[in-house]
């Protein structure tokens, strides 16, 4: 009995195997898997190409960064980058294999211009940065000078006995009015006023009259 049952099971199994072979759906799945494999391979190839493009992008960025340092000063370095670029690039074919140096330099300069968009765009922010650095440095030095002057104690001692001086115009001055005036106000009005064209003021007087203290 057991033997008969085993035989039945075996026949059932072979039938199912036959049905699988005859089943069109199962054969389609096999085709699909083959196609899938082929498709995957194609995708892989595409990905490889894409990767190459990405590499090319990187090379271009690298080339751009090199070209920032003011044109073809380092010609050998530029030549190397351009060679790498031509080897890897699928988009732009540049004939850089000129035998003469001048021709090579010209081609490299042109390629550099193409890559960075005719230049000038990179130089402007650089100049601005330098300007900002100078300005910051100047402001810092002005502040230092102010602190140095304010910290000197001698001036405060002199201020204790300071009397605001009066002045008179020079005899040769065209203004006929030679009345004494408050020196501070007159200087503000004549020299320090924004509308004043006066550039130089000469303050004269006898020794010890207080010119230096006034200046301080």
């Amino acid at each position: 009995m057991q033997v008969q049952q085993n035989r039945k099971k075996t026949t059932k199994g072979s039938k199912s195997a036959q049905s699988d072979l005859n089943n069109p759906l199962s054969s389609q799945t096999q085709d699909q898997s083959q196609q899938q494999t082929a498709g995957n391979h194609q995708k892989w190839q595409e990905n490889q190409e894409y990767t190459n493009l990405v590499v090319n992008e990187e090379k271009i960025e690298e080339f751009k960064s090199y070209s920032c340092s003011y044109q073809a000063q380092n010609l050998s370095l530029l030549l190397k980058v351009a060679e790498d670029h031509s080897k890897n690039s699928n988009r732009r074919e540049l004939n850089i294999f000129c035998k003469d140096t001048a021709g090579t330099a010209q081609v490299l300069l042109e390629s550099g211009k193409q890559l960075r968009g005719e230049g000038g765009e990179i130089e402007a922010p650089f100049a601005e940065e330098v300007q900002n650095q100078h300005l910051t440095g100047l402001l810092h030095k002005i502040d230092e000078y102010k602190r140095r002057i304010q910290s000197s104690n001698n001036f405060e001692i002199e201020l204790g006995t300071y009397i605001t001086p009066v002045g008179k115009l020079n005899r040769n001055h065209e203004d006929s009015v030679r009345e004494p005036f408050e020196l501070e106000l007159e200087i503000k009005k004549r020299l320090l006023h924004p509308d004043s064209d006066l550039k130089v003021l000469l303050l004269t007087g006898e020794a010890g009259v207080g010119k230096s203290s006034f200046c301080k």
Binding site: H134, L138, K141, I142, E144, L192, K211, K216
Partner: protein
Amino acid sequence: MLVDWDESEWFPILVDLSKLMRSLSEEKRANLAISEILKQELSLTDDEMKFLQESERNELHLPRFLLIYDGYDQILRTGAK
């Protein structure tokens, strides 16, 4: 005068001429220029001075330098001796 000083408009630099002359070499004394004074007093570099010369003051928002030279008579007296 210093209390109500408008710092945004003017920046005073007091130059003690007799002291400055003592610190300079004979060659520099003969050709004393504002650039040398700015170097001595504010420690400005050549680049910073060039930047000041070439820039528009209104764009920089920096005060104008007011150079106050003191002690000229002392130099004259020293020179006469």
